[in-house]
């Protein structure tokens, strides 16, 4: 089922377009990677999709029955927050449940269970009472991922989620996302990554953004083969 689409979207910075006429569709039940060289506007693509910036032209649309509050977002360098932020890991992960709870609804047994599940899968349960400022970069990243997942989003949007994580944690993380998508047909995970080679076995589809060099209009990508259907190319 189609949950979101971008149609002929153009967007840029300081009058220079970086996204040229991009169209793509996000289906439910997919684990998708967005890849491409530095400056290929991968993060911008996510921000456009999330509505954080408005396209110059073209449109971003969601399926009418899709709940916009069921989106979880991990920005790039989410873990580089103020190291003095006075929060325990578990407090931060709990805040992931807030969007669904709204202002007042009680933090119930269901939420506590979700927080524990999320922390355990992220491998951060043992660190739940530590202050986030005192964690290592990779641990902060895992805590932030746990926060997003505690929300149980239908659409998970992650911008370079494995930054700073060791090899074992990265594979665990890919497996977690694979399991998450496979467990419920309504769920989708979309992540920007540079580690396409190690993530590939877990993915359903790769969206490849090419850099905007004039002489690099490579419409055939050398590394994408049969299992990866749709590709997006900038020109």
């Amino acid at each position: 089922m189609n949950i979101a689409a971008m149609n002929n979207v153009v967007y840029g910075y300081d009058g220079v377009p970086v996204i040229h006429n991009v169209s793509l569709r996000i289906e439910s039940g997919e684990f998708i990677a967005v890849s491409g060289p530095n400056g290929a506007a991968k993060s911008t693509l996510l921000r456009l999709l999330l509505g954080l910036v408005k396209p110059w032209s073209g449109e971003v649309s969601y399926a009418p029955d899709f709940n916009r509050k069921a989106i979880g977002y991990l920005p790039q360098q989410a873990a580089s927050f103020n190291s003095g932020f006075p929060s325990k890991v578990i407090e931060l992960v709990r805040s992931g449940c807030y969007p669904k709870l709204g202002w007042f609804r009680r933090f119930g047994a269901e939420q506590h269970a979700l927080v524990e599940w999320s922390l355990r899968r992220a491998g951060m349960w043992e660190y739940r009472s530590r202050k986030i400022g005192g964690l290592s970069g990779g641990q902060k990243q895992k805590a932030c991922i746990a926060r997003v997942m505690a929300q149980q989003p239908d659409l998970v949007v992650l911008d370079e989620p494995v930054t700073g994580m060791d090899a074992g944690s990265r594979l665990q993380f890919y497996q977690w996302m694979r399991d998450y998508v496979s467990a419920d047909a309504r769920r989708t995970v979309l992540m920007v990554t540079h580690g396409l080679d190690e993530a590939r076995p877990y993915l359903d589809r790769v969206i490849r953004l090419e850099g905007k060099e004039e002489d690099c209009q490579c419409f055939t990508s050398n590394s994408c083969s049969a299992p990866f259907g749709q590709e997006v190319l900038l020109h």
Partner: protein, 298 residues
């Protein structure tokens, strides 16, 4: 000292503002806007001056200007994302300049202005006390009701926006709240020291707090101790209350830093000895294998 009615009022006013100002301070410090309080108090002073020039209520004009100043900073912050202190500098100087020019228009004003600059908590009148009580009550409700949104917003604005927080509306409301609390705190410690009441307790609390709620509670405790301690000290030593309160808060902060440093050093020494006592074989081993690294590269 509490049998004087003015001292009772002073304690009430100080106690009420110490309930709310430190909580605001925690958020301001975490949003890297700790100078916002100082700025708004200068802007508010321009409002007070304008109020007296135009024969309006100076108190009301002061509140109005503080709120407008808060909103202006919030707007400017969006256009200077990378330098969040620039809008603060712009608004602070504008406020001070406006206050100076307006004050010169009414030469007899400058005397009563010293009470605005340095505070006059013992001269708080019942109306001011009521305003302070209302602002405190409103502020506590604001922070209690919106605590989840404010936490998310303070952590990261974009994540908050995706999570359904009305970021623009919330930052606007926060700016208004900041203006109100700053204007309410002005008579207590004065324009020049409002920042002390807002920032020092949270600077203390953020060193010790393990969690967010804990930080707010600790900051309020430090604020209350500083205000009551400072007021009492100023009564017995006959020093200006505003300055004495600020100095007491500073002492609390310095004592906190000292205690933390000593504790840390002692713990480190203790742990260092414990680690050294572990037999050599079971220590953490650092090894470098050039061979392996080379094979990995090729």
């Amino acid at each position: 000292m509490l049998h004087f009615e003015f001292m009772q009022r002073a304690f009430w006013a100080g106690g009420l503002i110490a309930l709310i100002a430190p909580i605001l301070g925690v958020f301001l410090v975490l949003r890297r806007q700790s100078l916002m309080a100082d700025t708004l108090s200068h802007v508010s002073m321009a409002g007070v001056a304008l109020g007296s020039v135009l024969h309006m209520s100076p108190v009301l004009a002061g509140f109005l200007f503080a709120v407008i100043g808060g909103i202006a900073i919030e707007q400017l912050r969006r256009s200077y994302r990378a330098y969040s202190e620039v809008p603060v500098a712009i608004i602070m100087t504008s406020g001070l300049a406006l206050a100076m020019v307006l004050m010169s228009m009414k030469s007899n004003l400058s005397k009563s202005f010293s009470s605005y600059l340095f505070g006059s908590i013992v001269a708080v009148n019942p109306l001011q006390l009521m305003i302070i009580a209302a602002v405190t009550a409103g502020g506590l409700i604001f922070f209690a009701v919106l605590r989840r949104h404010l936490y998310t917003l303070t952590f990261d604005e974009e994540t908050a926006a995706v999570g359904g927080v009305q970021v623009k509306l919330m930052t606007f409301a926060f700016a208004v709240m900041t203006g109100l609390i700053v204007a309410a705190a002005m008579p207590i410690v004065g324009v020049l020291l409002v920042s002390a009441l807002i920032v020092l307790p949270s600077a203390f609390a953020l060193r010790f707090a393990g969690g967010f709620l804990q930080a707010c509670i600790l900051a309020v405790c430090a604020g209350l101790t500083g205000v009551f301690g400072g007021l009492s000290a100023s009564y017995y030593t006959d020093t200006p209350p505003g300055g004495t309160i600020a100095l007491t808060l500073l002492l609390i902060l310095l004592a906190g830093i000292a205690v933390q440093k000593v504790g840390q050093r002692r713990r480190q020494r203790h742990l260092g000895e414990a680690v050294r006592a572990v037999p050599y074989a079971s220590r953490q081993v650092m090894s470098t294998s050039y061979q392996e690294e080379e094979t990995n590269v090729s």
